[in-house]
């Protein structure tokens, strides 16, 4: 599906390039700019899928859920045994009950709990740095604008999730980091 779109974009870009040589106007150049961005986005989309596959394969190969239709990346559909993390957000919300009930295994030594909390604390700092940059970003086209908004929204959600997780981890043994 994406390959078809990529072919169409290439064709249109080539015609536009020829046309721009004849008649360089703002309207034609802005159309050309949009196609450049679309082309790059489709290319990166498949790269993102490959990287996600690699990361998931590395960390979740032994943690599977059966017969769940999950994250559908780029038209692929997973119906077999799949890593739990690929489940959609709704499923993850359901898992929160479990998540709130027991964040740490029983009788876990204190230093191990502290390490997990420290990792989450550092990830909150990473998230803050991301948010800081994205708050300042200004878009140059409506398409860029939507992408920035999508990322900002996603970062805010991460911020909430990480903070909830840290609060929970702190509360569980009644100590801060």
């Amino acid at each position: 599906m994406e390959k078809n779109a990529q072919k169409d974009i290439k064709k249109t870009k080539n015609s536009l390039k020829r046309l721009l040589k004849e008649l360089p106007t703002e309207e034609l150049l802005s159309l050309y700019s949009d196609f450049i961005l679309q082309e790059k986005l489709l290319k990166e989309l498949s790269r993102a899928e490959m990287e996600i596959e690699r990361v998931l394969g590395k960390f979740w190969s032994d943690s599977v859920v059966e017969n769940v239709e999950v994250y559908n990346l780029g038209g692929m559909c997973y119906k077999e045994k799949v890593p739990a993390v690929r489940m959609g957000r709704e499923e993850l919300a359901e898992r929160k009950t479990l998540f709130y009930a027991e964040p740490f295994p029983e009788n876990l030594p204190e230093e191990k709990k502290a390490t997990v909390k420290e990792i989450v604390f550092r990830l909150i700092e990473v998230n803050n740095a991301e948010l800081e940059v994205f708050e300042k970003l200004k878009s140059k086209s409506p398409l860029e604008d939507v992408i920035f908004k999508l990322i900002r929204e996603s970062l805010l959600q991460h911020s909430r999730l990480l903070k909830e997780l840290l609060t929970l981890l702190r509360r569980y043994n009644g100590k801060g980091i």
Binding site: L23, T25, G88
Partner: protein, 166 residues
């Protein structure tokens, strides 16, 4: 004809977009963040214990961040390519400043007519992608591409009308 770009940005910037330093920084931040999240996961795992739910949250964030990273890379690469293109089009003009010849008008009209069908196909393709994708970021992106293509479709129609009169 309606402008494609945000009217708050100066015309020069619209037609000749420079690589935005903040976009470069954001792409770098996302690259580092993706590494931090996957390293965080490795450290959690490295303790020899499974914190299933903590891992589920961090992995989900890692997956999202990988997508952010690639989206920002796409924007950065597009801005770089546009900067190169800009060098050949310093003489670009607002449509009202140009008196196209009959041949030029015909060329634009023919281009717009030819590409109306392609644009229609692209709208359909992106719509199908948006329907199929379940990850919120990919779905949002596909929906944005549908809107972008619909806008192009409108622009091409306007071009045909405009250059038909010449």
């Amino acid at each position: 004809m309606g402008k494609v770009y945000n009217s708050q940005i100066p015309y020069y910037e619209l037609v000749i977009p420079m690589v935005e330093p903040l976009v470069k920084k954001a792409a770098e931040v996302e690259d580092k963040a993706a590494k931090s999240y996957t390293e965080g996961l490795a450290k959690i795992r490295g303790q020899g214990l499974k914190y299933t739910d903590t891992e589920a949250v961090v992995t989900r964030i890692a997956v999202d961040t990988i997508i952010h990273k690639h989206l920002m890379k796409a924007i950065l690469e597009a801005q770089k390519e546009l900067e190169k293109v800009r060098k050949g089009y310093e003489h670009v003009k607002e449509p009202m400043e140009i008196e196209p010849t009959k041949e030029q008008a015909l060329l634009v009209k023919r281009f717009a007519e030819m590409h109306l069908d392609i644009e229609r196909d692209m709208v359909e393709t992106y719509k199908k992608m948006a329907e199929k994708m379940t990850h919120p970021l990919f779905k949002g992106l596909a929906e944005a591409l549908v809107k972008n293509e619909e806008e192009h479709h409108r622009l091409l129609k306007k071009l045909i009308e405009k250059y038909e009169e010449i």
